[in-house]
């Protein structure tokens, strides 16, 4: 016995896979939410200067 944990690749793939999945889904959701909100602002004609400073 070497004392080293044997195997474990499934845990490694799970950690990397879940990380990639959550980050990709969050990024896509953010871009979609911005596009929806931008359309609402464009329709309402709200000014930009006050909140962007």
């Amino acid at each position: 016995m070497s004392g080293m944990i044997e195997g474990g690749w499934s845990f490694v793939w799970a950690a990397y896979g879940i990380t990639a999945l959550i980050l990709v889904v969050y990024t896509i959701s953010l871009i979609r939410r911005i596009s929806v909100e931008q359309r609402i602002v464009d329709r309402s004609g709200a000014g930009e200067d006050e909140v962007m400073r």
């Binding site: 944990i5 990380t19 959550i22």
Partner: protein, 244 residues
């Protein structure tokens, strides 16, 4: 002719895309190196490869909450809606990173400690950090007045931030089951490159996501602060030839 301001806005819209592209490249190279090139660790074997994604996530989560803390202070002392938007962005992205941190940690804990979770000081303070900032996001959803929302959530951010240094020092202050902090100076040179590449990748990704999320907050604020559109009937009445 585009004005300087419009050029600046166009440039700032490209910044998240450039940062995202750089982050993806760094994370792809760092993860490939960490998964297939770096050797397995002496005791943890292949499972240690989770470190190349877990540690950069932890660093970025703490930096995000530190930035949110800074934004809260600036908003309270100097004002400015952009600081409120940046704070909200940093908190939301920080919560995503902190949730990932807990998930990755649980996946790493199972083969090394034999359990998915333990109420060890590092894990407990990290969970408190996650739920404290999640609570601030919930608080922001429940307050309609933008000024009250910004002030209350700034104060709550400052209070919640007290836990962040406790998370960092918990492994030093208490006899924690969790190992001490890893950094390029405390790990073998064989692990150094993927750790550093992924650290910068996660950081650039975090900055890009905060810029995008702050943009979303600013757009929502514009809708909230805009005067309501007049009713169609009122517009007709206001027209010189309109009916009474």
């Amino acid at each position: 002719m585009p004005t300087d301001e419009s050029k600046h806005r166009a440039g700032s819209r490209w910044t998240p895309a450039v940062l995202l592209a750089v982050a993806v490249i760094l994370l792809a190279i760092g993860s490939w190196y960490g998964l297939f090139v770096a050797p397995p660790e002496h005791y943890m074997g292949e499972v240690q490869r989770i470190m190349y994604v877990h540690v950069p996530t932890a660093w970025s989560a703490m930096l995000l909450f530190t930035f949110a803390f800074g934004c809260a202070l600036v908003y309270l002392f100097r004002g400015g809606w952009s600081w409120d938007s940046r704070m909200e962005g940093a908190i939301e992205v920080g919560v995503v990173y902190a949730a990932l941190l807990c998930i990755q940690g649980a996946i790493w804990a199972k083969p090394t400690w034999g359990v998915w979770w333990d109420w060890d000081p590092r894990l407990t303070t990290t969970a408190v950090m996650l739920f404290a900032f999640l609570g601030i996001l919930a608080l922001r959803r429940f307050v309609d007045d933008p000024v009250k929302r910004a002030v209350w959530s700034s104060v709550a951010t400052i209070i919640a931030y007290v836990d962040v240094p406790i998370v960092y020092f918990s492994v030093k202050w208490w006899n924690s089951l969790h190992q001490q902090q890893s950094s390029p100076s405390t790990v073998s040179e064989a692990f150094y490159l993927p750790l550093r590449l992924n650290a910068f990748g996660m950081l650039f990704l975090a900055i890009a996501l905060v810029l995008l999320r702050a943009r979303l907050s600013a757009l929502r604020l514009r809708s909230e602060l805009a005067p309501p559109l007049p009713e169609p009937g009122a517009m007709l009445a206001a027209t010189p030839g309109g009916s009474e």
